[in-house]
């Protein structure tokens, strides 16, 4: 398991989290290579279907990240729509027997590059402990 490198798909809102990931870069912080960031304008744009697709394709973890509630959202309350959708989404994951650590909804502001790095580090560590998701999902023919 030690050489298992989980893959994490991140949906980052343009105004806060994407800016934080940029800031982590400009501040030359360092974190594992496991994340792949997809930019959306608002966490409220992220459709649970995407997350399901990512898991189905082999993501070991997914992060949806946006601005801090209640008022950071550039679009008034997109982050809350994300919150409401993904709270419900967690229930599906639970029913599917997928560990809750594999999905995170995070609020990371544009200044919180360190928080971003922390989230990535935490999640990579957790996923390494859990092992790959794909193994559990393969259909034995």
């Amino acid at each position: 398991m030690s050489d298992f490198e989980p893959k994490i798909v991140v949906y980052a809102c343009n105004w806060c989290t994407y800016a934080a990931t940029d800031l982590a870069g400009t501040s030359r912080m360092s974190y594992p290579e496991n994340v792949r960031i997809i930019r959306v304008m608002c966490s409220g744009r992220v459709d649970p279907q995407f997350v399901l697709q990512a898991f189905a394709d082999g993501a070991d973890g997914v992060i949806v990240a946006g601005c801090h509630p209640p008022a950071d959202c550039h679009y008034l309350e997109g982050n809350y729509k994300a919150y409401r959708r993904f709270e419900l989404f967690r229930k599906l994951l639970e029913s599917f027997g997928i560990e809750k650590e594999r999905f995170r909804l995070e609020w990371i502001s544009a200044a919180e590059a360190s928080r971003w790095v922390q989230v990535v580090n935490e999640m990579v560590a957790e996923l390494k402990k859990l092992g790959p998701l794909k193994k559990n999902l393969e259909v034995k023919e």
Binding site: D47, Q49, L52, Q53, Y80, E87, F96, L137, V139
Partner: protein, 343 residues
């Protein structure tokens, strides 16, 4: 007159409702019989597997298959039919997305078998008799000695298109006679959409056909989710706007909104529209969107969700097996089916 098109009709894990829908064509049935030859239909006619095997490849014009693929036998049969048919149609929700039996995919096969043979309240099985792969029956008094081999179950129920190529889908649980009729018309006229399409139904959602759509308020925002077993819907008012978990918006139309018109929320048996990749994922996205709690009311949001005990059952009632994750859930080695029992 040229030879009539040959039609095969096979059922897999199915309740028979789909065949019922065929009968529901009523007088239009006669026209069907006029137009086609039925070469295989285990539910109604006595054809054997060998009869199909004997047919030349591609000689069946249309094979209609209903029910999900639960058993090895289903798998073999549909593969055979695929070989013999020009067009294979997944008929009904079970065949297209797994349907109600597909919900068993939430559990591993052991759990399913235990539930079925031991736990269900209507079952009385004190000796815990369970199915086995091979049963040796030996009753010397009657002079019977035989080996019965049961077909093996698959670890999960699969929709048809996970096993063979499917040309078209006819949705519904069961498809309404009109949908079936429309599909038949299309098939017979040869005026067919690209492969993989849904035929016979609408390109828009149930809401489009629903008379209650007009009654919607300007903004649909609800404070709680209701279910028809716990709350009575007000008639002539959009069910979703009342807070009922109506799947109308995400479900393909074509049924003429039968359920909502009877004051029952749509359960989604017509499946998703083109462009949607996961029925349940989309459904929770809009349910989450209409819940009207402002920032900082986390408790209320959680409570609203807690009130519905079985979200998967709601949003994946017919499509769990075809969902992005559902058909892969909880796979384990099957232990409850023993190799041999002797009676």
């Amino acid at each position: 007159m040229t030879e009539k098109p040959k039609v095969a009709w096979y059922w897999c894990a199915s309740c028979g409702g789909c065949e019922e829908s065929f009968v529901d064509l009523a007088e239009r049935l006669l026209k069907v019989f006029e137009a086609v030859d039925i070469v295989f239909c285990p539910v109604a006619m006595d054809f054997k597997r060998e009869d199909v095997e004997k047919l030349p490849d591609g000689s069946i014009t249309v094979a209609l298959i209903n029910g999900g693929i639960r058993l090895k036998e289903h798998e073999e049969m549909v593969k055979l039919l695929r070989k013999k048919s020009k067009i294979v149609i997944a008929y009904g929700a079970c065949s297209a997305w797994g349907g109600i039996p597909g919900l068993a995919n939430l559990y591993n096969l052991d759990e399913v078998i235990e539930r079925k043979y031991l736990e269900v309240p209507t079952v009385e099985n004190p000796k815990e008799v369970m199915p086995t792969k091979k049963t040796i029956v030996n009753i010397p008094e009657a002079g019977i000695k035989a080996e019965i081999e049961l077909t093996e179950p698959l670890p999960v129920l699969l929709p048809l298109d996970k096993v063979i190529d499917v040309d078209y889908y006819i949705p519904g649980c069961p498809p309404t006679p009109d949908v079936f009729w429309n599909a038949l018309q299309a098939l017979l006229s040869g005026n067919l959409p690209p492969k993989g399409s849904v035929i016979g139904a609408s390109q828009k959602s149930v809401c489009d056909e629903c008379p209650l759509n007009e009654t919607k308020p300007e903004k649909i925002l609800v404070k709680e989710f209701k279910r028809p077993d716990k709350a009575m819907a007000k008639p002539n008012e959009c069910l979703l706007a009342q807070g009922f978990l109506c799947m109308g918006p995400v479900t393909r139309g074509g049924c003429k909104s039968l359920c909502p018109q009877a004051n029952m929320p749509c359960t989604g048996c017509f499946g998703m529209l083109d462009g949607i990749v996961d029925f349940g994922g989309k459904a929770i996205s809009y349910f989450g969107s209409i819940l009207d709690y402002s920032p900082l009311e986390e408790r209320e949001i959680k409570d609203a969700y807690e009130k519905v005990p079985d979200w998967v059952g709601v949003v994946y009632r017919y499509s769990l097996a075809a969902s992005k994750l559902g058909h892969k859930a909880r796979l384990k080695k099957v232990e409850r089916i023993k190799e041999v029992t002797e009676i």
